[in-house]
Symmetry: C2
Subunit: 412 residues, 2 copies
Amino acid sequence: MHLYFSNAKRLTPIACWYNLSMTNAPFTYELLATDATTGARAGVFHTPHGDIPTPMFMPVGTQATVKALDPDDLHAMPAPVILSNTYHLALRPGPEVIAQAGGLHRFMAWDGAILTDSGGFQVFSLGPQRTVDDDGVTFRSLHDGSIHRFTPERVIEIEEMLGADIIMPLDECLALPATADDLRRALDRTHRWLERAVAAKRRPDQALFGIVQGGTDPALRREGARFVGSLGLPGVALGGLSVGEDKPSMYATVATTTPHCPADRPRYLMGVGSPEDLWECVARGIDLFDCVLPARVARHGGLYTPAGRVSIKGAKWRDHHAPLDPTCDCATCRRFTAAYLHHLHRVGELLWHRLATTHNLHFILRQMRVMRAAILDGTFADKLGAFREAYRPASTERAAAQRAKFAQQRGG
Amino acid sequence: MHLYFSNAKRLTPIACWYNLSMTNAPFTYELLATDATTGARAGVFHTPHGDIPTPMFMPVGTQATVKALDPDDLHAMPAPVILSNTYHLALRPGPEVIAQAGGLHRFMAWDGAILTDSGGFQVFSLGPQRTVDDDGVTFRSLHDGSIHRFTPERVIEIEEMLGADIIMPLDECLALPATADDLRRALDRTHRWLERAVAAKRRPDQALFGIVQGGTDPALRREGARFVGSLGLPGVALGGLSVGEDKPSMYATVATTTPHCPADRPRYLMGVGSPEDLWECVARGIDLFDCVLPARVARHGGLYTPAGRVSIKGAKWRDHHAPLDPTCDCATCRRFTAAYLHHLHRVGELLWHRLATTHNLHFILRQMRVMRAAILDGTFADKLGAFREAYRPASTERAAAQRAKFAQQRGG
């Protein structure tokens, strides 16, 4: 896509809102098929910036850019929707700059759909750098030490300035394990904050999703799902997972939660995940995902293949003059050999990041397309079995070590 | 361009040579126009990988990649020819790997023309890490401390394995200022090495250029130009400039050398340069250039405009919601605002490098097209005057400071 700029015309925040699609476009979700033997669903979520076939994975563009990629790279995959980050954008460049630009779509020249998270996850990850009370959360900027305050209302105000299609409310996201008391308090606070977010929201061209918290406690999750469902919001998100619990607990929590979510709304599992997580959670009724993992794995030399993740650092790739994955039709594998990728990574070239991120995101998005087609033609259970058979996940221990290593960078 | 790989077919070095264009394609140069009042020339240099309109600038892809760009980005500019680096490729990944890949074009998936320099400049920049004798030069790898030996024959052998269209012989490149004795010795050695390179060369689908040394001494330069011209090679290069001398001396040296070069061969000024250097040296009869400057300037936040170089770090760009240069039709300015570029640079995003390098190389290549059109329509002197009027070069002091700062990174 190409935006041609008229000569330096500056849009005010108000003008920009009405320049966006102010068609009262409904954020409708069409459920097209439900798998007979699992909870997997296929559908379409309509947004003012295009339709999102579900199940779908959203590449993460934390700072208004999916790392190393431009909008054409994303369209080529294709990626119909990306995620960006309210916390990061609120600090740099600041919501006023993006509003003046005409909103996030214009600022980053992306005409597909965008979801902005609330920043809750990042703020609660700050630890001693933040204090939380019933009204909101106060935190110190890692960049310049300045003090900031997020309340449910302020987060909505920022997200309305950013102008994403789907916006998330401020929630309290606990690391796991957490005490029953803490989980209870966080659930209640998340619900009060959601009510305040709903009351504060003004733009009709944005869809506010509700977030279900509750750790791995089935009763709390059920209560959360029912509360969020009762508000009639256009989507339901599962937050507070992939935050320290093991994979079986995460899968079990998803499985006990989705049956209590409205069937006619998309369900979004926040911050997940790996290829195996995507398959297992689609099987348990999830429609939308986001995760920094494909880009982060790429930065560390990891590339996805149908058999599992490989490291391009391996000496065997040095003279492998063929695509890494001969079955892959991504812009990287169509043009470049594994030997070239090995070389780029070894010598620390910038192009590595783009080619590797392109491959990994394309791999993940292709998994989503395979799942969706299988749900529609009634073969999802078979395809899930075949995936489990063929794909060797990174070992639990290795995954745990990586989680610890990446912990302080989360949200980046 | 897209190369589709057949299933993992491996090519041997010999097979690959004959898979390239073995049409005995002559490397002919057509001189189309010579400016009436300056030494500027317009022409076409024909290669097995496409025609190169001259004057032309070659983006530098030191390690088999133009930093942050893929082949499509280069074709979009368009860049008909790029430079890569024998010294760097000899060490990593090694010429055998590239020969097995089917040559450098295939390895990096680039179907345009390629020039490989000889590595002489890099080796002589190593200082105490190398020892030179009449037969060649021995140096220690910066990567693993291993000892390597470059002779004129070995360099040609490596370059034949790499398979670029235009190849350069090993030469002795001195930093300036240098003594008259050193300049004399280096000139003679460069000539003996050139004769050995000519004798060693086997592939008919590669053009070997000769290199003229001689510092800023007009007599030595004249002698060098005449010697190289006497060998009937398809091109003549001016080496050993932009290595410490001031700009007036460089311009004067170019002006005293080109009249002694054969008129029917392209003249290539190695390692130059800035926008003002390109204009001034085209005016003095140069046809080909290469330089890492546009990419390096980009990495440090610098972007070219018709009025001079600007730093995207400036606060004034923070809310400049229009292209940096409204007259620029590059893939960056067509899509992204200066405010977005400012943001990307400020937060250290990878996409900055690609967008900034794209803009700077496009700017330089556009200058070359403007010059060529002006030579062809007889308005070059006017356009040169207009450029000098409009473009404010980075100050001499600033340029000197940057040269010192970048000195140890040279060739990167």
